[in-house]
Every structure is written in structure tokens, then in C-alpha cells.
Symmetry: C2
Subunit: 255 residues, 2 copies
């Protein structure tokens, strides 16, 4: 078998662009959405940044994140208004000129034919860093953009989701990070030693501990993560047995 | 009157620490919560990063963010289990030793007196970077931590919220960023010129444009932001008049 592309960990970063997230006006929904989609592609979301609609902030983040991850995804700032500066900032980060993409122009002409026609603001959405490809948007005309390892998506979550959908299966990844959750009505601080001993005994697995209070009771979900299905099963059984031996019945699938 | 501390913009960064956010398992709620609270203190959330439970990632982010903002807030990774490494990582970033805080130990002894007593894992939650103060936690015993301009909060959103609550009014800020929203059943691309012309005419204001689809119709909310109440009112009236002159009735407060 030997080492294949599937044996290494593929990573992505996400850059969320928008004053509305930083002001608290809008609850972000793209981090979780992009994270879950990436995992299905066998790519791990390694880091996220949220920056304002400000060119220097975007340029700094793009340079840092695209350079050290296999992929960079961005959300937000690709609409028709003055505060949509993502394309210009990413082009600046890459030292590329901004050009009108002919196919993007056609798509917008078609989309706006029955909606008042293509004006100057709408034509802004055909602007791309030179050399870019388009990402299909079946929802609202204006396409997403790929340039190198950077994927530029809309900020509106359901449009970003449609763009991810059209990218499904087109991006190289490795083995998926699998996870199994077991829940327990116990304070995590009572079983902390058990958790770390179990993790140490299963080198290919990580165990995360997520406590909660519900119905006036303390509990925790323990999430075992690994790319190897056999290892994750072994680690989960071991953890479950240890917890039950301590008198804490486990609930498969979590609470 | 002259220039006072209130005339400059105070900024904070937020560092969200946790594999569970990057895996998509948990939908982040702390970004919006911290953003809204900061704004009430007259502090602007300038940037956010999300990193994994990995010391190097936390150290890099803490050094970058605490250095260029007035404040850094962190959420997550301060519990009793092996994956809770925030205190050690922040101490490492600041080149400080980790010590047991005597008052934190007392608080935990008291809290766990009726809950099985203070074991080694629970005592981990009394560990702080040397020289730190505590942030009260009325919810679950284990306190938050302040060291220099860094505020270390719990990851569970309602506990983080209680810690913010206990910090209310204790942190220096400037003038609040105010915002007024007007909604309009119009495609933002039809009024893009109006938005940018209005923004240019009101130098102390920014206008954000947030499009949506609802009930099969296209609309947008326009958010005018400024620290000056008179300026924001002038800009909002101007924008509303311009939109209505174009035949787009506005809905005060947004749609």
C-alpha cells in the first residue's frame, strides 16, 4: 500500500469577513457549516479568523492563512455594495490585478435580464483576481470565486452552503476525522484521570470533554476523535468500560 | 473639553479556544455574546481567532492579539480535564510560571465541599499565570482569570456570560459604537450608488448593507454606525430620504 495522499492530514483555514459579525449584529453560522462540510471532504478546519471589512486586515489574514494551510475559504464581502471589498483585498494579497470574468458577466446578464438589467453595481460581482475560476451559485446568480488554493464564498449562510454543495467532491482531501460521542451524568472533574489515562492508552485518538448543566443535573459528553475506525472503536469501548466500572453508566451517542 | 480617553477607539480581540468549534460539533455563541457586551463597555471587537486545543496555536494567537489590542478575551479550555490547556498556554505566551491562586483554591474548596471534595483535577482550576486576578463565576465555582490585558473566560456560553456580567463597568472603554438600522424591500444592487454616496457625505459614519431573501422577496437592511448620535441621525435621515425618493419606502428598525 505505501504512503498515499490519503495518509497525510489536509487542512483548511476559514476567514470570515464582515463588520456585522464583529459588531454582534449577526450570529455567525458559517464556521460550523464550513467545518462540517470540510470534514466530509476529508479536510480538517485548522483555524478561523474573523476580520472587519478593511483591506489591510483581510490582506494580512489571507497571506498568513493561505500560506500554511492546503486551502483557505473566505465568507462575506462579495456583494455589489461599497462595503464588499473581499475581491480587491484578496487580489492585493496575491499581487494580482482585478479583471471582469467573462463567464461571470454572462451569468449576471442572464440572471438580471428579468430583474432590471445589469447595472454598474451588479457588474462588480463579475470582478475576480486575474486567473480565477468561478464557483457555481444556483441561488442568486453572482458566483463564488476560486483563485489558487483560495475559495471565496458568499456571506449569507444558505448561499455559502449552496456554493459548498457545488464544490462537493471536487477538492482533494485525506481520511475523514471520525468521532464517537458517549454521554455520562457525571461531573467531568470526577473522571478527569480516567479520560487522560484512556487517551494516553490510545495514541491515535483524542478525547474531548464537554460538560453541561441540564434539568438541574451536571453531565458531560466525551467525544473520541480519530481517522481510524478500528482505533476509535477500541478507544470508545475502553472509555465506556472504565466509566461504567467507576459506577457511571454511559449513554451511547451522547446526552 | 479637549481630548479625553473617550475620544479614542478602544479595541479588543477574542480568541476562541476549542476543537469542538473547529470540528463543527458546537455552534459558537461566544463571538456574538462578547461582541455585544464589549460594545456596551465602549470597546470595539476588532478581530477574532478560533484555534484548536494546541499550545503553539494558542501562544501564537495570544502574542499577536494581546499586543495590538487594548484587551484580549479568551473563551474555552479552563476546565479540569487533560484537554484544558489555556492557562498553561497563556502563561507560556507571557513567559510566566503557573501557580495555584490561594483565593481560587478557597473558592473551589467551598464549591466542592458538598460535591465530593476537591480532587487533583478540580484543583487544576485554581492554576493561574503568576500575578493573575480572578473573575467571579457565580454559576459553577471555577473562576475566570485576568492577567495584564488578557481576560480568560469559560467556554460554556452561559458561564462566559456570567463572567462578563461580573466584569461590567470595570474595564475602561470609550464612546459606544451606535447603530441604526433601516430596512427596505429592494435589491441592494439597485441602490448601491445611493449607499456609497450617502456614506461619503457623512464622514463619521459607516453604512453596512445586509441583503436577504424572505417570503420569496428580496430585501436588505442598511446599518448606519457611528460613535456620534447627532451624526448617525443625520446620516440615517439622509439615507432614508434618498431611498424614498427612489421609490423605496423604508422600514425603521429594519425588516
Amino acid at each position: 500500500m505505501g504512503t498515499s495522499a490519503n495518509d497525510r492530514i489536509w487542512t483548511a483555514a476559514l476567514l470570515v469577513i464582515g463588520d456585522e459579525i464583529l459588531s454582534g449584529r449577526t450570529q455567525d453560522r458559517n464556521i460550523a457549516q464550513v467545518a462540517l462540510w470540510l470534514n466530509l471532504q476529508g479536510i480538517r478546519l485548522a483555524e478561523v479568523r474573523v476580520v472587519a471589512d478593511r483591506q489591510e486586515a483581510i490582506v494580512e489574514a489571507v497571506r498568513a492563512l493561505a500560506g500554511r494551510n492546503d486551502y483557505l475559504f473566505t465568507t462575506g464581502g462579495i456583494g455589489p455594495t461599497h462595503d464588499d471589498i473581499t475581491v480587491d483585498a484578496i487580489a492585493a494579497a496575491l499581487d494580482l490585478p482585478v479583471v471582469i470574468h467573462p463567464r461571470a458577466r454572462e451569468i449576471l446578464e442572464e440572471y438580471y435580464a428579468s430583474r432590471g438589467g445589469l447595472n454598474e453595481a451588479r457588474l462588480r460581482m463579475a470582478r475576480v483576481p486575474e486567473g480565477a475560476d468561478l464557483i457555481e451559485n444556483r441561488m442568486s446568480g453572482a458566483p463564488g470565486i476560486r483563485i489558487g488554493n483560495i475559495y471565496i464564498l458568499a456571506g449569507v449562510p444558505h448561499i455559502a452552503g449552496m456554493m459548498l454543495d457545488s464544490l462537493t467532491g471536487t477538492i482533494t482531501g485525506g481520511r475523514r476525522l471520525l468521532s464517537v460521542t458517549v454521554g455520562c451524568w457525571v461531573a467531568e472533574s470526577e473522571v478527569a484521570d480516567t479520560l487522560s489515562a484512556t487517551e494516553r492508552a490510545h495514541a491515535a485518538c483524542q478525547i474531548g470533554s464537554y460538560p453541561f448543566f441540564r434539568d438541574g443535573r451536571v453531565g458531560a459528553n466525551f467525544v473520541v476523535r480519530s481517522t481510524d475506525p478500528a482505533m476509535i472503536e477500541a478507544c470508545t469501548s475502553d472509555l465506556s468500560e472504565r466509566l461504567e466500572l467507576l459506577g457511571h453508566p454511559i449513554i451511547e451517542g451522547g446526552i
